[in-house]
Amino acid sequence: MAAPMVLAEAVHKRYGHLEVLKGISLEVDARQVMCLLGPSGSGKSTFLRCINHLEQINSGRLWVDGTLVGYAERGGRLHELPEREVCRRRTEIGMVFQRFNLFPHLTVLENVVMAPVVVKGEARGVVTERARRLLDRVGLSAKVAAYPNQLSGGQQQRVAIARALAMEPKLMLFDEPTSALDPELVGEVLDVMRALAEDGMTMVVVTHEIGFAREVGDTLVFMDAGVVVEAGPPRDVIANPQHERTRTFLSKVL
């Protein structure tokens, strides 16, 4: 059987004395969508950032597609990977941020084209063609020459998704991709994400969009105070939460 795309075993993360992740264990199979839910400060973003090693974990083990994240294991001991190797692995994991983080000094097209050319050394012509296809797919072929600040939030987030996809990742991480958007713009971004899930992309999505989690998610994980409180098929967890904390949280967001 193939290794899961993401496998976490007792992942701990501390900032100084503050323990943010207190032993997270979960797995995401390839072509599956996992939605992460939880109150503010519960460690959702932190966990997501551990997956592509933007944060280092303090203990536990974390694998992506069968390889350890950020470390190499030799003779039963963990060795920190050199920057080059950490970066190479990040190229296989796309990330979309709450605040888009597009590069404001580059046009939409340049935003999408830059990383594959700079990081992977691909030919500009090839990447440009792929970028145009991706921008077409997220419905922005008319905006290739615009600068990010000339776009609405929803448009910016769709560019950010295209930018991540241009690296041809095998896993996509979304950190509250619609939380910074006006309500009427949320739908266009969720539509793009839904289409991506239907195409078989493996996705970990931190979101408060319960409808999206129910319809698109294969599993729903509810986190609170650095632990996984409850996990299962979204419909079951939403309709029939087993834990008091899950019930309280869902009653607030539903």
């Binding site: 970066c87 692995r89 990040r90 796309g94 404001p104 000094h105 700079v118």
Partner: protein, 307 residues
């Protein structure tokens, strides 16, 4: 029209009187020696000095900018050895007067009579005499450039810190390495903060090169000094040098304006017109209005000239 700002009128009158007094003195006081100023303005030694001043400025700024960017990146490095080395460099070169640094490099042969390349503490492969290697011009360029690097590093560092951290994270998540994301993402955005002080630094450097005259570098000021040492026309020659400095700094100021505009891209919807565009726009607007008036139509709106 009612007089709404009596204070402003009084101030204007006072300024006008002062300007009139200044102009009167400029024209009637023979000690200014305007004919001498004019006589030496394009004299060969002066022009050679001028060119050397520009060369010194360019060379020192080049060293300052390149080394300054490196120092800033080192200073922000997660490696404590690298960041504290950069800190020490900046501490030392900002903490000593550039005037002293010029004299120091000029007299370096007294400290290290020979300079050479080779293994540390080992045999030297290339070996040279410090006095012939470090000429007065090289001493000036080294002193001005190395000193500038210390100031420029702080300017670049402020620029780098002004870029939103989300930019770094986005670049990292795309697999960019530290040097790549600095070059492609952070520094281009830091430019908006870095460019205006760079203009100031260049203008300041242009004038600071005059300190090189203590090392007998025949830049603009020293060329003037050499002339008045012979002719005793001190004031006219100093005026001449000042006028040249003013002309050069004015040109640099204009250049700075356009470079700043270039790096403002992507920060506002549309750039405001340059003074030149505004002037031509206003002229076009005037002629268009006259033409429209001639055919008896309405004048175009006040904000838009004809495309």
């Amino acid at each position: 029209m009612p007089v709404r700002h009596p204070g402003r009128w009084v101030a204007t009158a006072a300024v006008l009187v002062l300007v009139a007094m200044l102009v009167h003195s400029l024209l009637t006081n023979a000690n200014f020696g305007w004919s001498v100023v004019g006589h030496y303005f394009f004299a060969a030694p002066v022009v050679r000095g001028l060119v050397l001043t520009l060369e010194l400025t360019a060379a020192a700024m080049l060293i300052g900018v390149v080394l300054g960017v490196c120092l800033a990146i080192l200073r922000l490095s997660p490696n404590p050895i690298l960041s504290s080395s950069a800190w020490c460099y900046i501490w030392f070169f900002r903490g000593t007067p550039v005037f002293v640094q010029i004299l120091f490099w000029y007299n370096i042969a007294a400290l290290f009579p020979h300079v050479g390349l080779g293994a540390p503490f080992g045999p030297q492969v290339v070996r040279g005499d410090a006095n012939t290697l470090v000429t007065s011009i090289v001493a000036a360029i080294l002193a001005l450039g190395l000193n500038e690097a210390a100031y420029y590093a702080e300017i670049v560092r402020a620029g780098i810190l002004s870029v939103d951290h989300g930019q770094v994270e986005a670049a990292q998540s795309l697999g960019m390495r530290r040097i790549q994301l600095m070059r492609k993402v952070v520094l281009p955005q830091a430019m908006r903060v870095i460019v205006p002080p760079t203009g100031n630094e260049t203008i300041s450097m242009l004038k600071t090169t005059s300190l090189a005259s203590v090392a007998a570098v025949t830049e603009l000021l020293y060329s003037a000094q050499q002339i008045y040492a012979r002719t005793y026309q001190t004031i006219p020659l100093l005026i001449m040098a000042s006028i040249w400095y003013l002309i050069l700094t004015t040109v640099l100021t204009i250049g700075q304006y356009y470079v700043e505009r270039h790096y403002a891209r992507g920060t506002s919807y549309e750039l405001p017109p340059t003074p030149l565009q505004r002037m031509t726009g206003a002229l076009a607007h005037r002629t268009a209005r006259r033409r429209v008036a001639a055919v008896g139509g309405a004048a175009p709106g006040p904000l838009r000239g004809p495309g």
